[in-house]
């Protein structure tokens, strides 16, 4: 890996962060480190709140699929393009905590009910009418390890046992004691957040390695979007993650598991904002074919397509922009105007079928999927501006500025103006205003290429009776339609850089720090050299010791880097 000088700004920010975080590293030593220069400077550790899907997965892993959550999560926050980064900023609000607390009681109540207790609780109390230290400790210790992703400390276990005894005696029921003690674990910061604990001693450069269980956790969430499983915890306990061979062995195991797909799906769902399809609505009068099931299908279609390219084929990531291959259900077929014969028996779930669009069909790649087209459209029409902005921001990690204040929209407001029947015509007039032109020039040519697809993604050739012109350009490369746009996206270095950056940020829970620029560049070089294979990139990140290093504990927001380094 290349080495480079540490910038002054980075040093100051880092030193400030260290001081504030109370890591006990003094500025003098940090300065000394900077003098021998040329070091990789990791960013700070990040403490993240569990996402709803991670919470759900953990409950399912620990208590089985029959335990339901029965609650509502606090909304997630997207930051720097990712919910995974937002998780490093959010805490819990009072209202949110009330929900977590209610959910924890509801889950714990199911665990101790007649149906589950004998399966989940590995022992029986000597007397079910009162406390039982031994059984409580056995159960709470076992469950705690799985919930926290590490063994409980002696004090922690002691606290939970005392709590369960208090309740068992008070309510004269051992299982009521388990109920409240378990509920308190499920509502604990150790469970709701995942902290990156650091080893007490810094390495020779002054940076910290994650403590083994934190390392296991980072790895497991990165690859599986879930807490470490029993095997990983056992390997951690044995110290296997401390050496490269042991780490590689676990990376191989996790990546060979079907759960790796869950992890990759979680990443791409986050990167493409596919979670927003869960709540997207379309106007039922304008788009009668649209409903929430179709939105769910649309999300699944894109995930299947991406999984096929990056996981099954282990292909070039950029192919997702040009592949005519996808998977459809009958419902989606109805929107796309292609016949999908469902030969499932009556009552069988909707079947997915592989489908390949014809060679001359403009519908290629994932930005011609409903998941992209509909998500970046208002409820009742298409929007080249929203789509163009999303192509820049979501697929190429570029930031499009917000429109300025006090802009006059009058010229283009009249959608019934006989002179401007298409979106292109209206936007062209709008963009003659120099205040608006700057941004629209970079947004519209991309979005207009997708104008053959309406607000849900259905194909059309005209708008208000006028043929739609879908020509455009990206970085000087011209194209005539969506297929050409897909090719231009495929060839643009920004799309590969973008997935690299998002993946690294997703794993770290923050944007790469300034001092990690060279590391990210090196990863990017490897990514390119290996033919843009996401699997290889994931492996490269997961097996790299740099991924598990931190400059110090989690720092306050102002010391976090503002901008992505390798993007743009």
């Amino acid at each position: 890996m290349k080495r480079r000088m540490m910038g002054d700004a980075a040093l100051v920010a880092m030193a400030a962060g260290l001081l504030m975080s109370g890591a006990g590293v003094d500025v003098a030593r940090a300065a000394a480190v900077s003098k021998d220069a040329a070091v990789h400077i990791p960013g700070a550790a990040v403490t993240r709140r569990l996402s709803p899907s991670q919470y759900e997965a953990t409950i399912r892993d620990v208590f089985g699929p029959t335990v339901t959550l029965g609650g509502r999560f606090e909304p997630e926050v997207r930051r720097d393009g990712l919910l995974a980064i937002g998780q490093g900023y959010v805490s819990v609000t009072s209202t949110g905590m009330q929900q977590y607390e209610a959910m924890s009681r509801a889950i714990a109540a199911q665990v101790i009910d007649e149906r589950h207790r004998d399966i989940v609780i590995p022992c029986k109390p000597a007397d079910a009418k009162t406390a039982d230290d031994a059984c409580a400790a056995m159960f709470l210790g076992k469950v705690g390890r799985a919930l926290y992703g590490r063994p409980l400390t002696k004090d922690e276990l002691g606290t939970q046992v005392v709590a369960s005894n208090m309740a068992a005696k008070e309510l004269k029921d051992f299982y009521q004691g388990m109920w409240l003690s378990l509920a308190s674990m499920l509502a604990s910061p150790e469970f709701l957040f995942r902290e990156e604990k650091l080893k007490a001693k810094a390495d020779k450069n002054g940076w910290y390695d994650l403590e083994p269980y934190a390392k296991a956790s980072k790895l497991s969430f990165f690859l599986w979007n879930a807490r470490p499983d029993a095997q990983l915890l056992t390997a951690t306990e044995k110290g296997e993650l401390d050496n490269a061979r042991g780490l590689k062995k676990q990376v191989d195991r996790l990546m060979a598991s079907p759960r790796f797909e869950e992890g990759l799906r979680a990443f791409f769902t986050d990167m493409y904002g596919l979670d927003e399809l869960d709540t997207m609505t379309k106007d039922a009068v304008i788009y009668p074919k649209f409903d929430s099931r179709i939105a769910a299908d649309a999300k699944e279609q894109t995930l299947r397509t991406v999984m096929n390219v990056v996981l099954e084929q282990n292909g070039d990531y950029r192919d997702i922009f040009v592949t005519p291959k996808t998977y459809l259900t009958r419902r989606l077929g109805a929107i796309y105007g292609v016949p999908i014969v469902n030969d499932a028996a009556n009552g069988a779930p909707e079947q997915w079928q592989a489908y390949e669009f014809a060679k001359d069909d403009p519908r290629v790649g994932i930005v011609s999927h409903m998941s992209f087209l509909a998500l970046h459209s208002p409820p009742g029409r298409s929007s080249p501006t929203l789509r163009g902005k999303a192509l820049r921001e979501v697929m190429m990690c570029q930031k499009v500025p917000a429109p300025p204040a006090a802009v006059e929209f009058k010229i283009v407001q009249d959608t019934s103006n006989p002179d401007y029947k298409t979106a292109r015509a209206r936007l062209t007039v709008h963009a003659t205003n120099p205040v608006c032109a700057g941004c629209h020039k970079i947004i519209d040519p991309l979005g207009l290429a997708l104008e053959n697809f309406d607000g849900t993604g259905a194909y059309r050739l005209t708008e208000n009776g006028v043929p739609i012109d879908t020509s455009g350009a990206l970085n000087g490369v011209s194209f005539n339609n969506a297929a050409g746009l897909g090719k231009a996206m495929h060839d643009s270095p920004a799309t590969a850089d973008c997935v690299l950056n998002r993946l690294v940020s997703y794993g770290l829970g923050r944007l790469p720090a300034k001092g990690e620029t060279e590391w990210v560049k090196a990863l990017g070089k490897g990514f390119a050299d290996d033919g843009y294979r996401v699997r290889d990139l994931v492996r490269a990140i997961a097996t790299d010791p740099a991924f598990y290093k931190a400059s110090g504990p989690s720092v306050p927001a102002e010391a976090k880097p503002e901008k992505s380094q390798a993007a743009n």
């Binding site: 700070a44 209202t95 905590m97 004090d155 008070e170």
Partner: protein
């Protein structure tokens, strides 16, 4: 009125007859003559703070009244408030200052009016309502209640360095939260603390204490977030403690009726129908002492009518100005509908009689928006309104023209009358220490 029952008679009766009297329904006679205080204790009925957030402003020339002062006439878009003219204040001409920072359209104005300024990443500031809730909302079951009429979860209320408090999108879910099994009728005859609640509280307190001890060594950022976590836990403990106490009787409290909701969505009919249910629920929740702070976000931006390709927000930017009318017709439909919803809500509060006064009288409801004129994203001539006299603390019935003043003046004033010890509020040009004395009683 027949026999006059004095506070003394009631007290004497209650003392003499022992447990039986507890069952007597609480009547108006428990209030003093003006209906502002519980006669038995002499405590004034608690003051209540609420916010109504309605994005996308009004049409220029159609909302600022011709006259200022007490004898103003509501302009056309605010005519719907005429029945409450004596109980409202309208402040026009206010400004949101950008101080050279970029305008995030529809977001920056919200941030300024709710939190007092544009925050840097480091200092995500608390919204005024949560500062008020920390002052007046600590002894109620809910420190604050947030609802969104549009089926969304967004609210404009937040604690410092935290995410926004999530809104409740479903009236039925809100009903269950307030009047479900955990509701303790303040006027119920018998009261027995629930042993499970008692145990829950002791377990929670014990475990929390132990955790706090174990977590003394964390970084600054985590410290902040842990503090928020423990604050939230403490509030749950307080709530449990309240559940174990006999609630203060509230004579006017009646449990809201459980009604069916329309599937929450941003379609106007659903928003109006569920808005009505929310309004009634909030009124009952306040009257029953369940909360003293509430935040309503109607979710203006996404509102639309069925079959329309465009949302309210979309229309503000893309609808042509009707040449005959001189304003955007569709946009005006939404403004009218939303403003009417607000008037209806004020009406629900004002219909809730408490002695000689109404529930509205002890509320201070603050109406806010994101832009003065959404079509061009203006940050000047911002309207802010207040409704209710906050238990006599607000002087009402006026139009005040405050051209160029930071809009934060109203937020500062509302905090002050709610008892928040604050003399200056806001950041940079949005900072103010000028109380809006015209509206302070």
């Amino acid at each position: 009125m027949g026999v006059k029952i004095t506070r003394r008679t009631v007290l004497r009766g209650a003392m003499g007859a022992g447990a039986v009297t507890v069952g007597i329904p609480f009547l108006d006679c428990y209030l003093n003559d003006s209906g502002t205080a519980l006669a038995a204790t002499g405590t004034p009925l608690p003051v209540v703070f609420g916010t109504w957030f309605q994005d996308l402003g009004f049409n220029p020339g159609r909302w600022v009244p011709a006259k200022t002062g007490f004898d103003f006439e509501n302009n056309v878009e605010l005519k719907v408030f005429d029945p409450y003219k004596k109980k409202m204040n309208l402040v026009s001409g206010l400004q949101y200052y950008l101080d050279g920072k970029p305008l995030e359209t529809h977001a920056t104005g919200v941030e300024i009016v709710t939190t007092g300024g544009i925050a840097s990443q480091a200092e995500a500031m608390a919204s005024a309502d949560s500062l008020i809730a920390d002052t007046i909302g600590t002894r109620t079951r809910f420190r604050s209640l947030e609802v969104a009429f549009n089926g969304g979860r967004q609210s404009r209320s937040k604690r410092a360095n935290a995410a926004n408090n999530p809104s409740e999108p479903s009236p039925v879910a809100l009903y269950t939260r307030i009047f479900g099994p955990d509701f303790k009728d303040p006027n119920a005859a018998d009261f027995k603390p629930d042993p499970v609640v008692m145990t829950r509280k002791s377990v929670l307190s014990y475990v929390t204490e132990q955790r706090k001890k174990a977590m003394s060594e964390v970084g600054a950022a985590d410290r902040v977030r842990l503090d928020q976590y423990f604050t939230a836990i403490r509030e749950i403990e307080q709530q449990l403690a309240l559940e174990l106490q006999r609630p203060e009787p509230l004579p006017q409290c009646t449990v809201a009726e459980k009604r069916d909701e329309v599937k929450p969505s941003s379609l106007i009919p659903a928003v109006v129908a569920n808005g009505k249910l929310f309004s009634e629920l909030l009124a009952h929740a306040v009257a029953c002492g369940q909360t003293r702070v509430f935040n309503i976000n109607i979710g203006s931006q996404g509102l639309r009518t069925e079959g329309s390709a465009q949302t309210w927000h979309g229309f503000t930017h893309e609808e042509a100005i009707d040449e005959k009318l001189g304003y955007q017709k569709e946009v005006t439909f939404f403004i009218t509908t939303a403003t009417k919803m607000c008037a209806d809500f004020v009406g629900v509060l004002d219909a809730y009689q408490e002695g000689a006064g109404t529930l509205l009288d002890r509320c201070g409801l603050m109406w806010m928006t994101d832009h003065g004129y959404a079509r061009t994203h203006t940050m000047d001539n911002i309207p802010v309104m207040t409704f209710g006299s906050a238990g006599g603390r607000l002087r009402t019935g006026q139009h005040i023209s405050a051209v160029g003043d930071p809009a934060t003046r109203v937020g500062l004033t509302m905090q002050q009358i709610m008892g928040v010890p604050v003399s200056t509020w806001g950041v940079q040009s949005n900072q103010t220490s000028k109380t809006m004395s015209e509206i302070v009683a």
